[in-house]
Symmetry: D3
Subunit: 142 residues, 6 copies
């Protein structure tokens, strides 16, 4: 019986955002988001780590072929988010604040839908989104 | 229903310590702690990673406000430990050896007590203490 | 009752390998392994992270003595793999493709057998093998 | 006679920018700046390294007091640039493209003017601005 | 007059090599190269940093266009060396030992010849080749 | 004629220190050294980078044999400083403040004296001492 392992692959992208919720007052936005509420936005070098779990194939010695994983992450994450302004360039952030938590959930939705369509053997297990050298966020897929 | 995510925030502090247990002989201290038993101590740049888990708030898009987390970790960890000698400056290490494992448990006790008093929504879930580029220690809060 | 903690120690080694399965055609090898199938091989700086879990000893303040852990990992991993060609210098890779997944499983087998013989208190819990700055692989020991 | 040494201190800030020159055609902007010309901008975690050279003081054992250096860099760089949009929030980038090279020169101008006013002993020698993990830019002050 | 700046761009590649000089005895090879002389070779994740110096263009705000730099380094370094065995796949290492110093000089020769043909404005100034997290090598171009 | 290159090798050690000058008042010590003046000291993980410059040997393909360099740095730096208290365990710091600048100069004196005795071909060119992830210090040997 094949043993299970977990493969993690890292991807980098740069984007800008502004943390601001139009349903709240200026004061509340300032109080909650601080300097992240600056009117013209700011940006980050994000690092996304995608973890896939599954049996190590007896024939290929792999959990998932990295070429396939790269193709999917490029299409669903890097292409739409890299060198973009999250507030204006990503439809779902016109009505949700693009915090790193929400960005992570958005990425989770995109990748899990695509994963189901692709029919990969491994399970999309965990996502980690690093915002700066001091903050990162994780989501465990159901 | 809000999805759960895990936020991790990193903090740095520098401290010195000596691994020595007064109840043991000099020989045993040397055998167990090796060069960490050097009489005058040595030091490290510690990195602490604090992980908080909880639902991503529909209103703020956050698991926990980092400003609140920073305030608590500054008061409970950075202020008492940064630029300190753990053996002499921290009361609980007068009777326990300040290994990184014990330092991690001490931090866990301080943060979880404060966490309960603050009444934050998110759960204090995991602590990771990095001692050097080659060693780190984790504690999963109950 | 002693609290549980998880100690992780990092080890570096350099090795070369070629991803090629003699039972498959040249075309299939190329299609599956891409440039990793290059006839003369290539190499990596691998980083191995070994995690041991267990109670923090009331007497020593440790989960496991790092000196003991180092001795075991040196003998079972660094000595046989460092500055080696995995395909030719490691017996089990004469019939299995030395992907990072398979290398991780090979390390898991070696370390867990040795661990049982040594009779350490802590549990060998998790292994992480980093292949490049963009890929890493994890195995959770049963 | 005191020996000379070089102290380098690192600072992090996040900002967004768009590479676009209003005097050029859309086509030229696209050709030269590629995805960095995206209309709504993108962002980075910048790291600035400031190097000061000078004799190690016989009395303090320092080249320059880091407290003083921090105060100056906070006022001249972190305060005006952190969590900002360089194109809109920084006056000089309304007419110059905020490439990392130009951002570095802008920082050099601000710091060297302030340095002269402060009358520090050490010489402001070199600035390094890291844009991503793959790109950095250096300027040697005259 | 335009100010001068130095742009550095980082590139990663993996390769294997064996340090062995056929003109020396086995004993001398072992004595000089130690475990790097292992018969079947070993490998590394190399990082190459390419530094270009020159005036910051008043029109583009750049020292050199990174797209051009990437194209040249891909053709001269990454394509011929990535996922290769330096001893067998690179002609010049059939008669020279592929130490990191010699690999650096080989890269310097290839890049400076190409640089001259391309006619870039900036000067190819410095190369840094990192072999492991503990060793790197630099060459200053004449 | 052999081309010149620069080899840099990295070494890690942990030590504690207290910044305090007995010839100054308590107030002056506090004002100048701040929390680094804490009575019982603190510590760091130091990283030392040693750069040697010289021709790449036509026969060995090396600037200097790393085995020789390691032997010298172990004896002159790691052995006397690792897991030590700089103030009490290093004679020269009984009368000089062990700032990173002074520690760097002390290392420079030790290494250059030994270098002369060893008669290595390469020149000991530069030392870099990293105190934390945010501070480093360099000394260019005469």
């Amino acid at each position: 019986m094949a043993a299970n392992a977990h493969l993690t692959r890292c991807y980098d992208f740069c984007a800008s955002h502004r943390l601001h919720d139009g349903r709240m007052s200026e004061e509340d936005n300032q109080r909650i988001y601080g300097k992240c509420n600056n009117p013209w936005g700011h940006g980050h070098n994000y690092r996304l780590e995608v973890t896939v779990a599954g049996p190590v194939s007896e024939s290929t010695g792999m959990v998932v072929n990295i070429t396939d994983l790269d193709r999917v992450v490029m299409a669903e994450v890097i292409e739409p988010f890299d060198h973009r302004n999250l507030n204006t360039d990503v439809a779902s952030f016109r009505e949700r604040v693009p915090t790193s938590e929400n960005l992570l959930l958005e990425i989770a939705t995109r990748l899990s839908q695509r994963w189901a369509r692709e029919g990969f053997d491994g399970k999309l297990e965990k996502l980690r989104l690093q915002e700066t050298g001091k903050n990162f966020f994780e989501y465990h897929l159901p």
